[in-house]
Symmetry: C2
Subunit: 435 residues, 2 copies
Amino acid sequence: MAAESSWFHIPRGSPFSLANIPFGIISTPSSATPRPAIAIGDHALDLRAFASSSGFRDLSVIQPHQAVFSEPTLNAFAALGRPVHSVVRKYIQSVFAADTPYPEVLKANSALQKEALLPLAEVTTHLPFAIGDYTDFFVGLNHAYNCGVLFRGAADALQPNYKHLPVGYHGRASSVVVSGTPIRRPCGQILENPKVEKKTPVFSPSRKLDYELELGAFVCKANKMGEPILIDKAADSIFGLVMMNDWSARDIQSWEYIPLGPFNAKNFGTSISPWVVLMDALEPFKVAGLENSEQVLRYMKEENKENVYDIKLEVDIKSKSGNTGTVTKTSGRHLLFSFPQMLAHHTIGGCPMKVGDLMGSGTISGLEEGSRGCLLEMTENGKVKVSLGGGEERAFLEDGDEVTFTGVCGDDETTLVGFGQCTGRVEPALKLYSD
Amino acid sequence: MAAESSWFHIPRGSPFSLANIPFGIISTPSSATPRPAIAIGDHALDLRAFASSSGFRDLSVIQPHQAVFSEPTLNAFAALGRPVHSVVRKYIQSVFAADTPYPEVLKANSALQKEALLPLAEVTTHLPFAIGDYTDFFVGLNHAYNCGVLFRGAADALQPNYKHLPVGYHGRASSVVVSGTPIRRPCGQILENPKVEKKTPVFSPSRKLDYELELGAFVCKANKMGEPILIDKAADSIFGLVMMNDWSARDIQSWEYIPLGPFNAKNFGTSISPWVVLMDALEPFKVAGLENSEQVLRYMKEENKENVYDIKLEVDIKSKSGNTGTVTKTSGRHLLFSFPQMLAHHTIGGCPMKVGDLMGSGTISGLEEGSRGCLLEMTENGKVKVSLGGGEERAFLEDGDEVTFTGVCGDDETTLVGFGQCTGRVEPALKLYSD
C-alpha cells in the first residue's frame, strides 16, 4: 500500500501506522471502564468517546450499532462481521488521512482530539475479547519436527497424523491474560530425575519453564452445533490476529501429557498482545506457508496457496539484572496449515464456535539457528544454553525474566503493520508447603 | 435421613423427593425467559415467581440477593457460596414439609401454587450454568484399565502417571448441551482399516460413535490466577453434580489423539442432566472410592476416605424401532480421585477457576460384566456386540439410537436423591460432499 500521510503525528517506525488500525480494549485513570479503541502511532483513539461525539456521523453502516463502542470487549463489534470491520477501518484511515474528506470529525476538532486521542503510555490495555473457548494448535511444522527429534529421534519425529490434520488441543480460556500480566511459576508434579526415576513424581516448582512463540486468531462468527464452517467461508469467521505466548512447564508436561495431552503444564497462563490486527490489514503480507508433502482432504483444501502471513517475529528475554538477549527471530510464514484450515478442521465434526473464541497456531520456528520459537527446542531440552549477554545464559526461564515478543509486517517505516508487544515477567513460585 | 412427609404430592419413587431439592433452569410456553427453579416430585418450583411473591420473606440471608432468581443461569446463585445454598435448600424443604412453620408461604397460598408449581412435563429445561471452561478427567480406574488392556495389553494398561494424578484434559465448553438436545454423528478423519492402513485417513462419518457415562461437578467459587485451591477448602468450591454423557467418536479419536489428546472426537457434543443435585443432598451417600495403591502427594491428600458417592447409574439404549436395552449398571463410587482432589490438582499450578466451570469425572465402570460405562469397553472395540432385545444388537451407536442415563441415591422410595435423566438421540451425519 502507498505510504499515505496523516495530519496526525505518527512516529516513523511505529507498528501502528495508518496502514494498520488495530483494535483493542482500554481504560484510563480518569475513566476506569474498559472500552474499545484503535491504536495509531503513540496514541489510542478511544472509540467510545469518538462515537459519542458523533465521530461516525459520516458512516451510515455503523449508525445502528454504535453501542458496540461502549462495550467492555470487542465481541459485539466483531459480531458485526468482516464487511463492517473493513468499512470501519477504512473510515478511520480516511479520518486520519492528511487530505481527509471529514476534517470536521477530528482533524479540525481539537476538543475531541483532546478527549479521545490518548497517549498509549497513559492507557491500560485489557483482554480484547471475552474468550469463550480457547484452542491451541500445533501447526508450526519445524517446531513439531525439532521437538519430535528430541524425544523420539528423526525417523519418528512426526506422528502419522501430523501432515493430514492441524493437530490441536482445547486450552484453558480462563488462563488467557493480556500482555503485561505477571506469570507465576507453577508448582506441580515432576520427575526428579527422569532418566533414573520414571514412575514416582515429586512436588516442586517447575524447573523447566518455557515460552512458546505463537500467533492467535479471534473468531468473529458463530456456527451452530452440528454445522461445520466450510473452508471457502472460513476466512469470514476470523476477525484478526494477536501474538501469543503459551507459557509451558516442560517438566510438568512430560510427566502428565500421556495419554490426554498437556494440562497443568499450560493452564497457569497464556499471554496475548493487546491490539488485534485485522485480517484486512494483514492482507498485503500473505505468503505461502510450509509445503505439505501430503494431500489434505477436500474439507481443508484452499484455492489460494498464499494463506499465511509474513510477520517478522522476535523474542527478547530480559533478566532481573537487566541483561537482554534477542533469542529468536522468525516469521509467521512457518506454518503448515492456515487459520481458515484450522477452523474448517475444528468444526468439521460440528463443534460450535462462538464470537470471541481464540485459536493459537502452535509454536513458530524457522529452520535456521536463532529462529526457534521456544527454549525447549533451542536449548535441546536444556543441554545447550542460550546467551542473554553480560555473561548470563539460560536453559529455561528464571524468576524475574521478562519475555517480550514483537511482531511486524512490512519494511517501509511509514507503513508498518505491527502487533506491538506481548510481554510477561516470571514471578517466583508460591511457597505452598512448610517442609 | 428420616422420610419427612410433604403436604405436596410427591410420587413414590420420584428422584426429586423432599430430601433432594436439585436446582435447574426452566422456561415455559407462557414465559420464555429462562430462570431458576427446583424440582420436586413431578413439578418444578419456579424460583423467580416464588421470590417475587415474597416466598423468601422468612429467610433473611437471601433478602439482599433475590435478583439471583431472575437470572437466566445458576451462576449468580452459585456464587453466593455453599452456606447460602445450604440454607436455601433447607428453607425450601421446610416450606414443603407437612408441618411447615411457614404455611402462608405456599401450603396455604393456592394462588402462588398455581403460578409457581409447574408440571415438569410442561417446562423446558436449559443448561443450568453459563459454562466458562469445561475439563474432563479420566479417574474411572476400571474404565482406564479396561481401555488400556484393549490397546496396550494388561502389563502396560495404565500409564505411570495414572495413580499419581487425576489425568484430565480441557474440553470444549461451547459443546456442552442440556439433556434432550439431539447429537449429530460427526464427520472427520478416520483410518478406513486401521490394521492395514496406519497412515492415510479418509473423510467419513464416524463409524464408532459411543457414549461415556460420567458425573459432572459445577464450580461455585473462583480463585485468582496463580493461587491454588487447597485440598481442605476444595469442597467449598463445588456446587453440585449432574450426570454427563461425553459422546465420543472412537475412530476419529484413535487417529487424532497422539500427542495432544482427544479433540474432534469429543467436541461435537457433551450432554448433561438438567437438575444439579447439591452436595448437601448427596452427603448421606458418601462412600470410599477405589483404593489407590500409590501414595498421593500432600496437595491432594484428603482426611476423609469417604469422598465419592454411591450413585446408582444406569444406561439404556433405545433403537429407532423401539427396542430398549439396559446396557450398563454401575455406581458413582468407582472413582480413584474425588472432585475436591480433581479441583486441587487442576489449580495446583495456579489455573484460575470461575463460577460455572464444569469438571467431568471420566467414564465410570464397575468390575463386573454389565457395569462398563461405554461401548468401546463393553464391546471390546466392537468385537462383542451387546443386545438391545428384539434381535437388535450394537457394537457402536446407530442413527436414531437414544441413549438415556439415570442416576439415583438411596433405597427408600420416599426419600430418593436422584438426577432424573440425561438423554440424547443420535442424528444422521450431514452429507457434506456430493461424491
